[in-house]
Amino acid sequence: MPPSWRALSPRRRQFFVWGLGVTAFLLFPVVDELLNLQWLNAVTDAAVFVILALGLNIVVGYAGLLDLGYAAFFAIGAYTTGILTWPPHGIELNFWWAMWLSVPVAALFGVIIGAPTLRVRGDYLAIITLAFGEIVPIACRNLWHIDLRLGPWTLVENFNLTNGPQGINPVGRPQFLGYEFGFDPLPWYFLVLAVGALVIFTKSRLAQSRLGRAWMAVREDEVAADCMGVDPIKTKLLAFALGASFSGLAGAVYAAKLQAIFPELFRFQVSIMLLCIVILGGMGNLKGVILGGMCIMFFDRVILAQSTQLVRGLGALLGSEMLMRADLSLWRWFFFGVTLIVVMVLRPEGLLPSAQRAAELHAGEEEG
């Protein structure tokens, strides 16, 4: 770092970093257009996952609750919007209403899952959330021939809620000032940016509040926090509900952008990928999670696809059958795994750690 950078007050530095980030995001579509990269769509999807990772970071990074089924709330958000706007249901709610309704619905499920399970700790909580993450996509796949009978009365017969494995298609699209969102990624990009800005704002305010401190206290020592007047159950429930509501919002936007949602979109791998983003970026750190998310998603959506072309081209040049048929995107989990191992060995606090965690992991080195 140049000395002039160090001379700046932390507040200004903060301002500078954020300003740079915002400018980069706002100018990206222009660069994309000028260089004809056609990355805008991929970057928009990536940003959705960054929003999800930010929500997960509340649960894992702040409150210290290992949630392996976070994609379930993503699914609930997406399906809420899907169900409310899918024409065959006859509701066909305006997208904006559906989007905002997805937030409390996802939060409600966060409370429903959290209330009975947050009494268990650590590994047990991880297992229960894992199960929940499996149940939700399966429920989405099966809730399309619902019969409800109570004694001789048939309350509901053959009701199709989620359209099973075919999924919900089409999902209602947003309109803004008379402009209808279509296949052009540009308006989606800005919608996702706006949602992302809202999430970042909300999250940083929460982190620097009474509630943020309570989350960290529960993460550090639940018994001590309880004895200092922090209600651990209520605190953890709020982490679950607020984390879930972020992913409900992301799910709503994602569903409308894709126009079709299937149970398979919300499998266990999504939860793991989000967890990778949080760990890679730096647990508990807002900027770290954004950076980690952009890195992983960019690698997944852009680099893997492009390098597959490269390897195939190389294969054609060398006349190698194997290289010509290679598809590197099938190797994505291999690359994620290797990256995670390398990060854990070389930089266990993540790319941009929170100051606290870095201090924790390198305490010995400072003193030595």
Binding site: R205, R210, A217, A224, C227, M228, L238, L242, E360
Partner: protein, 265 residues
């Protein structure tokens, strides 16, 4: 009326009776010492008063209110602050944040207020930070406010635990071996500090202590536990002469040590 009253408290862990029909009462404004050999049930009693354990039978009354079986955070809200025998700070939070967590139960901002930040929340947060800094100044840790709690030396961690407990605005402060691991000079300072706490915060204090100089020096009353039962209660002078105490707690011939210890202080 007594500030804290324990009526016939029994606590069993499986076949072990940790506390056997203990009656205890503490007047407002007093400093009471709780002593006894290891395993006598002192910390068990603390954990019961603060809600970590539920008594097998018996009642706990704080300020005329039944607190038996309430969760720890409820008990804290009603006015009991505590420290721990083995330090339990929030290691990876700053010294200031540790104190602010103690204040948590006196702040009213909800999650919604935290996001929207109406003026009253901003003011509340501002006042809380000021108060936390005052408390840190009081225990002499203000310069350390930004450091992580775990980077403090041991003696200062003990002081931070006290500051955090004071932040909960207690009526009754429970100190579990506050001088454990301190050298004689630190112990002496701590004794004076506890006496000051009572005066300046209008507190009632109950402490478990092994250092006889501390207990005998500042307690108004001393209660002696052995095998989960109260074997003696009275002023420090009475306790020092109590034959059963000398035998149970100090062994035979311990009386001379005890007398000389209190003469010094």
């Amino acid at each position: 009326m007594a500030l804290l009253e324990a009526r016939h408290i029994v606590k069993r862990f499986g076949g072990l009776t940790a506390l056997n029909a203990l009656d205890f009462s503490l007047e407002r404004g007093q400093i009471a010492g709780l002593i006894g050999p290891n395993g006598a049930g002192k910390t068990t009693f603390f954990n019961m008063v603060t809600g970590l354990y539920r008594p097998t039978s018996g009642r706990l009354i704080l300020d005329g209110r039944n607190i038996t079986g309430l969760r720890p955070n409820r008990v804290t809200r009603l006015g009991i602050g505590r420290t721990f025998q083995t330090i339990r700070l929030f290691d990876n939070m700053s010294v200031l944040d540790n104190v602010l967590v103690g204040m948590n139960c006196r702040l009213r901002a909800s999650w919604f207020g935290a996001i929207v930040r109406p003026p009253w929340v901003v003011q509340e947060e501002h006042r809380a930070r000021q108060r936390a800094q005052e408390l840190l100044e009081y225990v002499g840790l203000l310069e350390r406010a930004a450091e992580l709690a775990k980077h403090l030396p041991y003696g200062e961690q003990r002081l931070l635990e006290i500051a955090r407990a004071l932040a909960t605005e207690p009526k009754l402060l429970l100190l579990d071996e506050p001088s454990a691991g301190m050298n004689p000079r630190e112990t002496e300072e701590l004794t004076a500090f506890i006496a000051r706490l009572r005066q300046e915060f209008g507190l009632t204090i109950l402490l478990i202590e092994h250092h006889m100089e501390v207990v005998m020096g500042i307690s108004d009353r001393v209660t002696v536990l052995d095998y989960g039962a109260k074997i003696a209660e009275g002023t420090p002078q009475e306790i020092q002469r109590h034959p059963q105490v000398i035998e149970a707690y100090l062994g035979k011939g311990g009386a001379a040590d005890l007398a000389s210890a209190t003469d010094d202080s």
